[in-house]
Symmetry: C2
Subunit: 355 residues, 2 copies
DNA sequence: ACAAGTTAAGTTATCGTTAACATATTTCAT
DNA sequence: ATGAAATATGTTAACGATAACTTAACTTGT
């Protein structure tokens, strides 16, 4: 004669209601602190809720309410401070408005992008912020999401759609200014480390680099541009420091190595610095170096790293705000774009070099 | 006479069904590729699905199915490679089993811990992995979650519960071995940077440090132990490099500064190295230093950092596996614990020092 | 030519919660 | 004391999808 506890995992409103001797609706009122309930009843219900470890079923609730106050953020990876700061800013902004954030990681894979989108859509998030690298499969799926009326904002990546807002650092200008700075210091042979052909932020930075060289009539030497077609940084376990380290080694092995390098981001720069030191050369005397991002570590490298600071926090904040506006707005607004300025932070890794 | 499109945001199964002239059930069969559907009908349905941008409602679906194939991971923060690697490993393991991962960040706040738990529970995740620092409010709430039958696994933090599995690196032993290594090199005055009184991994590392000193009859000098009661690292924007930098400066200002330091983690160590160099001292000649974690950067610092490697990937993998077993298992298993070994990685930051 | 299997749908009930409305009781101001 | 307002609860009908069952037409082997 065992008790009749079948396989039911969680207690439901009805279970509570039954045990107390009221309607599920009354229990619901107690739980949600809405409507009128007598103190006595409330007391009994709360008691039962505690005893039976009741937890309301979000699905049923949200199915009825038609919104979740939750937003999804899809990141390519979280192993760099850029993503981290972004996520933090997004989260803070959302929390202030009573929204929650779920983060999904796609590891820069188109397939996983789709899985993430799908999963978020399945959980009926109220909106999605996408900060992964653009790719065909993912974008196609994303388009479907947008068209099924889920608000979407993209950060630092291509995605043209009438109803999708866009925030991005000015990677092109940042790359331009970093290179310009090196040119101003008198450098003529300037390397680029970490080029990627895929349409990410690093491509824009490379374009900025090329633009600066052209503008100063410096001939572009392809041997000075390192990167990988199959970007190995996307394979977990292969860090961007590695890219910087190996890229720099390759540049150093040239007959006529560069006197300065611009790295796609700070970690890459740190890897490159490591290679320079290993070769017994000095920074910035033998080789000057500029990074990108201004991660908190940048001021603690030796020598401290000249880099391009981007406004990661502002970026995240704006994206979150735009998304919330879309979520709350009844009317479809047309696309808005925000390109945020970057700022060159000059430290000792580029030193002062006389012409 | 406008068309009858009220405020409905998404098309539903019934909408599709109606437009095609079949039952919702038939549409469901097409969508889920289950049961028999004629090619002709399937064709028409798929057509309508595309035209109307249908997206199935996850709530309704999961409400019926009673599971979501989604797991939540709650992290204190994501701004360190430890969390990052952990998340990555957890995710990989889950993905292989067809599960999805939602990550929530609590910024080391008890309140936000609760928000994260609540939010995950509301979305009816099938299980939760918790890797935040232990705290009273959060733990109480977590207990409720466990008792409402949601499987939970904790990583590297206290939480005693009959049905909650536990995975952790052996922080105590790691701290012990790091300190022991410095003692073996002949150091007598060894500092500790980044102590925290709250029950986190750093506390265990500190205990390991103290144990090693005691075992070698080295007197414990409290002035050599730096940290903060109010751990400012928990305030966003205040990085652990900062803690290392400031902690080291404080140690250097002592009348009799240490000849070696053990930092709570690698970033703290990097901050400390920066302070040492700024003071014009050499590593390891003047001050030797050991970190903890073996982040990928550790081998690229100058000099390369001696550190304690922990098996972050294995940790994440085990946690995910344990959770999946609980999710899939019908029977309640009793608590399992796995303490993972750490490995001392000796690099140049501790050098070779003669007695 | 007919039982048994296959294919292609439809019907019903339900997951757990809550909005909207309905009912009943109490309070209280005039 | 009497109607209006406040309080306390119940009833009904969804939200959208699907498991389980039923119906009916169409194959097919012997």
């Amino acid at each position: 004669m065992d008790t009749k506890k079948p396989k039911k995992k969680h207690a439901t409103l009805s279970d509570i209601a039954e045990s107390v001797g009221v309607t599920p609706m009354t229990v619901s009122r107690v739980i949600n602190e809405s409507g009128y309930v007598s103190d006595e009843t409330r007391e009994k219900v709360l008691q039962a809720v505690k005893e039976m470890n009741y937890r309301r079923n979000g699905f049923a609730r949200n199915l009825k309410r038609q919104f979740t106050e939750t937003v999804g953020l899809v990141l390519g990876d979280i192993s760099n401070p850029y993503s981290t700061e972004l996520a933090r800013a997004v989260r803070e902004t959302l929390i202030n408005k009573g929204f929650n954030l779920f983060i999904c990681i796609s590891e820069h894979s188109a397939k996983e992008d789709i899985v993430a989108f799908e999963s978020l859509a399945n959980h009926s998030v109220d909106g999605i912020i996408v900060a992964t690298r653009s790719n065909e499969g993912g974008d196609k799926y994303l388009k479907g999401i947008v068209e099924s009326n889920i608000p979407v904002v993209v950060i630092g990546r291509d995605f043209q759609h009438e109803y999708v807002d866009f925030v991005s650092p000015d990677n092109l200008k940042g790359g331009f200014e970093a290179t310009q700075h090196l040119i101003d210091l008198g450098h003529k042979r300037i390397g680029f480390i970490g080029a990627s052909l895929k349409g990410g932020s690093s491509l824009k930075r490379l374009q900025g680099y090329l633009k600066a060289l052209k503008q100063h009539d410096i001939e572009i030497d392809e041997r000075l541009i390192t990167g990988r077609d199959e970007d190995v940084s996307e394979v977990p376990g292969y860090s961007t420091e590695e890219i910087g380290f190996e890229g720099m080694k390759r540049l150093l092995s040239l007959l006529n190595p560069p006197t300065a390098v611009f790295a796609r981001n700070d970690f890459t720069a740190i890897g490159a610095m490591s290679a320079i030191k290993e070769a017994g050369l000095n920074i910035p005397e033998d080789i000057a170096i500029v990074g990108f991002d201004d991660i908190s570590l940048a001021m603690r490298t030796s020598p401290p790293l000249t880099t391009v600071r981007q406004q990661m926090r502002l970026e995240g904040q704006l994206a979150a705000e735009m998304l919330l506006e879309r979520i709350e707005g009844k009317e479809k607004r047309s696309r808005r774009e925000r390109i945020l300025n970057c700022e060159l932070i000059v430290r000792e890794s580029t030193g002062l070099r006389k012409r």
